[in-house]
């Protein structure tokens, strides 16, 4: 706001200047350090970078595919769990308990183990009719694990909506389900977009774990390159791909949230 101008911009400038200076110092110290040439060769190698660019992006498509498929199921299934967990009163205790056990278990167990157990264990049972495809089981494992995380994010959103909103909706004669659908969940989701995106991004990166079951995705492909050249540069290529996937997603959701807030609230509001 206007009256903040002077002191606000001064402290901003100081903070910014000191950050820039700090960054410059780090860059200078690093690039003049005795070990820099070797670190550069091992991590930032132009030749291997170009070489990796030929194979890794292709493998990355598998990550994107796994991510998209899993995400759809997670968004729906997690909401279901979150709603179970938010059901009030003693009658719903068993369902609530079920949801709690589910989230505790699948958040607690290392994802790798779930992937191993389902990916190697389930086909090993040799039950006829059960799919053997590793990708199938990898996606199932990711959905189970990430639904536990995402459901807790949803729950935080649901519980942060003031109970008076629910009272108002129920007073119109909306059923509990419709109250959730039209009044609670829309407000809840808006509030938890940043942590939801956290879990999206986490999932994006954990698609790499499906590689444990054999399929070669971007991260595994870069591991192959790293191992065959004894050079870490291919990881850099994968990292860049992941970041490139993250940034537009982050900016898009931010923009959506801000647009929403601007519409709903007075944004001139002083701080």
């Amino acid at each position: 706001m206007r009256t903040h101008g002077a002191s606000g911009s001064r402290s901003t400038l100081i903070a910014l200047a000191s950050t820039v200076v700090f960054a410059l110092v780090v860059v200078l110290v690093v690039s003049n350090s005795p070990g820099w040439p070797e670190v550069q060769r091992q991590f930032f190698n132009g030749e291997f970078f170009r070489e990796s660019l030929r194979v890794i992006p292709k493998a990355f498509l598998l990550n994107v595919r796994i991510f998209l498929i899993a995400e759809v199921f997670i968004l729906v299934f997690a909401l279901f769990i979150a709603i179970l967990r938010s059901l009030p009163g003693p009658v719903f205790f068993p369902l609530r308990a079920l949801a709690i056990v589910y989230t505790d278990f699948f958040r607690g167990v290392p994802t790798i183990l779930v992937i191993y157990l389902l990916g190697f264990g389930a086909p090993a049972l040799q039950i006829s009719g059960i799919p053997r495809d590793e990708l199938f089981w990898g996606v199932v494992a990711l959905v189970l694990v990430y639904s536990a995380y995402v459901s807790e994010v949803y729950r935080a959103g649901i519980e942060s909506v003031h109970p008076s909103q629910e009272a108002a909706a129920r007073s119109l004669g909306l059923s509990q389900a419709k109250t959730l659908r039209y009044v609670i969940v829309p407000q809840a989701v808006r509030r938890v977009v940043p942590p939801l995106l956290n879990d999206f991004i986490g999932l994006q990166k954990d698609t790499a774990l499906v590689a444990l079951l054999g399929p070669v995705e971007a991260f595994r492909q870069s591991q192959i390159e790293v191992a065959s050249n004894f050079n870490y540069t291919p990881y850099l290529v994968t990292a860049i791909l992941f970041v490139l996937l993250t940034i537009p997603l982050a900016r898009l959701t931010d923009w959506l949230v801000i647009r929403d807030r601007r519409r709903q609230l007075a944004l001139g509001a002083a701080r």
Binding site: L172, G173, Q187, R190, A266
Partner: protein, 249 residues
Amino acid sequence: MSAETVLAIEGLQKSFDVEVLKGISLTLEPSEVVCLIGASGSGKSTLLRCVNLLEPIQAGRIEFLGEEITAPGVDVDHVRRRIGIVFQAFNLFPHMSVLKNITLGLTKVLKTPQAQADQEAADLLARFGLADKRSEYPDRLSGGQQQRVAIVRALAMRPELMLLDEVTSALDPELVAEVLDVIRGLATSGMTMLIATHEMSFARDIANRVCFLHDGVILEEGPPAEIFSAPTNERTQQFLQRIIEAGRL
């Protein structure tokens, strides 16, 4: 109790940590307008919320049009859609435009087609001087505008019983007069209403009957003329005495 009785409350008890309603009994006949008056914290809002089944109660029963709505197994949604309530704090939906706030119940509960619901809502909004605010969001409205939207939201559902909690608190005097007109119109068209209010002049103008609530108990009830001019209970007398002293009746 005749089948026509709209609302019959019997021995209603409600506690939070302490007992707030200590055995309320109250009956509303069709088209009756009853005003609840009483000190701040005496339990008026709580009583209205109990009638709309928004609070679990500890004892007593509530009958609505002959049906015991506090019985187990009652379809609460069905009951609530026939009882409208305007909350003291408005409780508008902040993520919906004014129009959506009003049409939500119409389209999702009464299954009115969207176009018709929009039309009905627009008409009501215009009647309350809010025609130009229909696509605004609640947080960007003034206090009085929000209160009017809350009234319209409840009215739009055409309930058989209206519960109004301080519906004129944020309104300017002109609007109070208009709301008074609307409520009178509703009353003559047969709507039954239970109104919590602090405005004695409003109560006197509109009520068939006034109930004086004190500390969770209805101490006295009767036609406004009687209550305001010749209260029999000592506490009522005190209450009114002070108001008169303050030059506010």
